[in-house]
């Protein structure tokens, strides 16, 4: 709770003792309070916040205890039945596993390639803006555009990848049709699409490393590699930690690419949690059950976020 009080000037200027005394003496006296302007300034945000975030959050929790259908039918309170069903639902567990699998497969290259890109671009080679442009441009594309392009590249007969493979005498791969490789194909497209974002975060972090650190290392006789290992990489460790967690949180939410590249078909090998929520809610019309899965998913995201807050707090402590 106290973390929210950062930048509270009133507390910062008055000592704690003075504050207490004042509080007991004049409990009701508004000290320079600006309730009118204050609430007027936050009111527009609060309206949106309450209507489109707080209310759906509460209502979704309520729905998860009902058998509400999208058609308007149902709505009876069923207690924990939806949650009980979810934990016994093999399809839910598979969706969860697929999501974790996608997260593992995508996070490693999305962090490592971004780091390599940023280190090389900042190594002082000419044409910096061109490298930046090449790596970041895909991030500006809508998921639909990315999916259109990669479905075409992965086309079994006419695709670019298979034609290159075949020109080297290798066998064509059914990239999106074979359940054993389809997730990997989606990860490849995802890495291409979003690595530019992590790349930019790394670029900013590298530029923030104080130049004196390098100068000091030079005086100690450190060469290029030595500086990389002893200055740059250690300095980037907190950033890396942050990027890894943000990437995990982003990867867990995967929906667009899977749904689009699989041609809106739900396949056992690629169905992620969000795809399952979408499918249960909007194809199966089971809003109650879909809400329960949403909340299970939310709980997982919450736990990872809390781990991150803890590591953040420990670092700044």
């Amino acid at each position: 709770m106290t973390t929210a009080a950062v930048g509270n000037r009133a507390v910062a200027t008055a000592g704690p003792a003075a504050d207490d005394a004042e509080a007991t003496a004049t409990r009701e006296r508004p000290r320079n309070r600006e309730n009118g302007p204050g609430w007027a300034f936050v009111a527009p945000l609060v309206v949106f916040f309450a209507l489109f975030l707080v209310w759906p959050l509460i209502h979704g929790l309520y729905l998860s205890f009902t058998d509400q259908s999208m058609t308007g039918a149902g709505g009876a309170f069923v207690g924990l039945a939806n949650y009980a069903e979810a934990f016994a639902d093999a399809e839910m567990w598979r969706a969860l596993w697929n999501t974790v699998w996608f997260t593992l497969l995508s996070t490693v290259p999305l962090v490592l390639i971004a780091l390599v890109m940023a280190l090389l671009v900042e190594a002082g080679l000419p044409g910096k803006w061109l490298w930046r442009l090449s790596f970041f441009m895909p991030f500006l594309l809508a998921s639909t555009v990315v999916s259109l392009i990669w479905v075409w590249i992965f086309n079994p007969q006419l695709g670019l990848v298979n034609s290159v493979l075949q020109s080297f005498g290798l066998a064509a791969v059914p990239w999106l049709q074979d359940p054993t490789v389809s997730m990997i194909s989606i990860v490849i497209a995802t890495v291409w699409w979003t690595v530019g974002f992590n790349f930019l975060l790394y670029l900013a972090a590298i530029q923030n490393i104080p130049e004196q650190q390098y100068e000091a290392a030079s005086i100690d006789g450190a060469g290029r590699w030595r500086k990389l290992w002893s200055v740059t990489l250690p300095q980037l460790a907190p950033t890396t930690m942050l990027i890894v967690i943000l990437q995990i949180l982003a990867s867990l939410k995967v929906f667009d690419q899977i749904y689009q590249m699989m041609n809106q078909l739900v396949t056992p090998a690629t169905q992620s949690v969000v795809v399952y929520i979408f499918d249960t809610g909007f194809t199966g019309y089971r809003f109650g059950y879909a809400s329960a899965i949403s909340y299970i998913f939310f709980a997982i995201v919450l736990i990872i976020s809390l781990v991150q807050f803890r590591t953040n707090a420990r670092r700044s402590a």
């Binding site: 300034f41 945000l45 975030l53 759906p56 291409w192 923030n208 943000l246 969000v274 991150q308």
Partner: protein
């Protein structure tokens, strides 16, 4: 919080990019250039391939052997067909204006609130700010089911209001803007206050002009997200005339089936606006992502 969110201080490399005592053609340097080249080519290839396909006739694109240039030569048929069908310009316009409205509403509400959280002492300030910061961890995907239910009740399914309003909630932006306002020297505002200016007046004519870079950064971030958003617009809009570009592309791609050249022409047309924007505002966009990228983290 790391120092990353601060504005990057640019180190000035020497004109050749070399540090004193470095060889121009060291092994490491050549290796670095080769790896960079490999990565850049790999990253540009998919887009180049999409462009190449879009410039072929459907017959060339849809038949073996696979080639960069069709036997019938370069043609813009795919583009004229896509544009002639009429939907893509409508969708692009819908994407543009709805994203602009979402960006304006988000930045306006978040900036006003962030300023109040930073400067004004009002009842309930701390709990409210804490609630908004806590909301950063809520994945929008979790809210999709109840939000849709709510839109059914409001009669907003398949309307622009239903498309726009739920996208105007961005708690992370409140956090970023408040952190910025906390750093603005208060003396400037106090001078204006002494002159009798109201809070709104001070915000409008003293604080906002000082905040242009951060407002630009936040606007860029929100706009890109809104422009590319898929899940919510896809759910809420069924009417072809109301669709945004990403949604329209998804629905039409199944209809087009095996017309690869037209599919790629559509992809390129949809990609072009933001790429052009990026070419013009590269520095601002990169700085914007760097400052807002960590969100509320």
């Amino acid at each position: 919080m790391t120092a990353v969110a601060a504005r990057p201080t640019r180190r000035m490399p020497s004109s050749s990019g070399l540090k004193p005592g470095e060889k121009r053609f060291g092994v490491a340097r050549i290796l670095a250039i080769l790896v960079l080249l490999f990565l850049a080519v790999t990253w540009l290839l998919p887009l180049a391939w999409a462009v190449a396909t879009s410039l072929q006739t459907e017959a060339d694109a849809g038949s073996a052997p696979v080639s960069w240039f069709g036997e019938s030569g370069v043609t813009f048929d795919a583009y004229t067909n896509v544009l002639g069908a009429g939907n893509v310009p409508i969708w692009a316009w819908n994407s543009l204006w709805t994203s602009a409205v979402i960006t304006f509403l988000t930045v306006a509400t978040c900036a006003l609130a962030a300023y109040a959280f930073s400067r004004l002492d009002f009842a309930g300030r701390k709990p409210l700010y804490f609630a908004i910061i806590a909301a950063i961890v809520i994945p929008p995907q979790v809210l999709v089911i109840p939000l849709f239910y709510q839109m059914l009740a409001f009669g907003m399914v398949d309307t622009y209001l239903g498309l726009i309003l739920p996208q105007v909630v961005a708690p992370a932006m409140v956090f970023i803007l408040k952190k910025f306002f906390d750093q603005v020297p208060i003396e400037l505002e106090e001078a204006a206050r002494v002159d009798g200016a109201s809070r709104l007046r001070v915000f409008w004519s003293v604080v906002l002009p000082l905040s242009r870079p951060i407002l630009a950064a936040v606007s860029i971030f929100v706009f890109i997200q809104a422009w590319n958003n898929f899940l919510w617009p896809f759910l809420i809009i069924n009417d072809t005339n109301l669709m945004t570009l990403p949604v329209g592309l998804q629905t039409v791609k199944s209809a087009f089936g095996v017309q690869y050249a037209q599919n790629m022409a559509m992809a390129i047309l949809a990609a072009l606006p933001l790429i052009v924007l990026f070419l013009f505002f590269q520095r601002q966009i990169i700085r914007g992502i760097a400052t807002t990228g960590f969100g509320g983290q």
